[in-house]
Amino acid sequence: MLQTLEAKTESDVRGLLTKAALSLQPQPTPIVVDAEVAALISDARQQLRIKPTDQSHASRAKVQSLLGELLSARLLPESERQAVRNRMGVKGVLPTSQYDIMRNPALLQRGNICRAKWSHILDAIQNADVVEHFRIVEGLGDAPMASLFMRRPPGHHDFWWLIHCQRVGAQLLPLHAWRLFDDTFSREEIETPRDAIISLANKFGVDLSVNGKTMKIAFREAVPNPVPGESVLLVDSPALKFQGSSTGEAEFIVGLSYQILDLAYTQYLDRHGITENW
């Protein structure tokens, strides 16, 4: 703690740190620094062992940096970091590097279908070219949400990885890894991962019946919930479970749902030379 900040209220400390840091930033017009701010800057310089004669850019940057760190610690104490991280994960605004990527044995067991190594999946998520996090509705707490990642693998490849993850707080659980070859999926029709998953489902997906409508893929479908608070069967496709959450008495919101026909997809991989022993 800098001496100048001792015995001050939290709001005074923040105010003083903010004023001092602002005073060191480039300004289009000169600003007047009051005595308290000058004392704080002098205090910071002493702590950093900067000589009084040193007025260089580098020394100014060091002071600025220290003030920024002190402000950060006030705005986001260490004890609150994890909760904030989770909250950002739920919202889908967390930088990708900040998620925990969970190994999914179920996905790896389907190796003969998806034909993706764990390292491919990790690379596609961590170095994705395009990312799309779905937020179903506000107020769902930690309900699972969907996140999609698209990655053009380095080298002379003619496909994109499309990774579909389940997102819970700050955790990502990869559910599917798809290869979208250029000769089958036109880049003109695909601008976002959402377009990519729609194209994939249209090509290889089974028909879903949702709310009396037939579709290949369901996004943010709000359907009447006949029994408030209870799950309802929305889909009559076998072996398909919807991610869904009750949002009150009136409706049931489903997340991203689709089902790809294994046979059609693996035949397509075979045609592109990605055989079972790839």
Partner: protein, 165 residues
């Protein structure tokens, strides 16, 4: 000597700053800009005066790209941008114009090890579309060099093109 103003203004900014102003400041941006994109190229207005690398948009973009590629946490430009944005967040939170929860999330992002949030964007501003009264000339004493510099405090998102370079 009277000089004709250049048709464009250029500003180099980190993506994170663009994101914050677009999302939390009603898409109204504060920019410090120059009439010349790259003082080291031959395509500069005849009347322009040289600027040092610290205020040359092309140089800033090059330096920042280099720092990101090397994942240099101590790069002065990146640490400077980070501190400036943390300070702004603190000031907005204090004056009530930013929700405390949003402030915490921004501080988390600014302190994360994700270098991509610092990737440089080049703002290209069509000068003729901006009321000249909003373009404030920076006094010579406050500039980094001889070249003319300007500040626009209320640049709307629709008034410039943010280019990834």
């Amino acid at each position: 000597m009277t000089t004709m103003p250049g048709p464009f203004l250029f500003s180099a900014m980190p993506y994170m700053k663009f994101y914050i102003y677009r999302t939390y400041r009603n898409d109204i941006h504060y920019v410090w800009c120059s009439e010349v994109y790259d003082h080291s190229s031959t395509l500069v207005p005849r009347t322009s005066l040289p600027s040092p690398p610290s205020s040359d948009p092309a140089d800033i973009c090059r330096q920042v790209r280099h720092a990101i590629d090397r994942r240099d946490r101590h790069d002065h430009r990146l640490t400077g941008w980070k501190t400036i944005l943390i300070t702004r967040v603190a000031a907005w939170e204090a004056d009530g114009s930013l929700d405390p929860a949003d402030a915490q999330e921004l501080v988390f992002m600014l302190n994360s090890d994700d270098f991509q949030i610092w990737r440089p964007l080049l703002y290209v501003i069509h000068r003729s579309a901006i009321d000249p009264g909003r373009i404030h000339s920076v006094p010579p004493a406050q500039r980094a060099g001889f070249g003319r510099e300007f500040v626009i405090e209320d640049l709307a998102g629709s008034e410039f093109e943010p280019l990834e370079i």
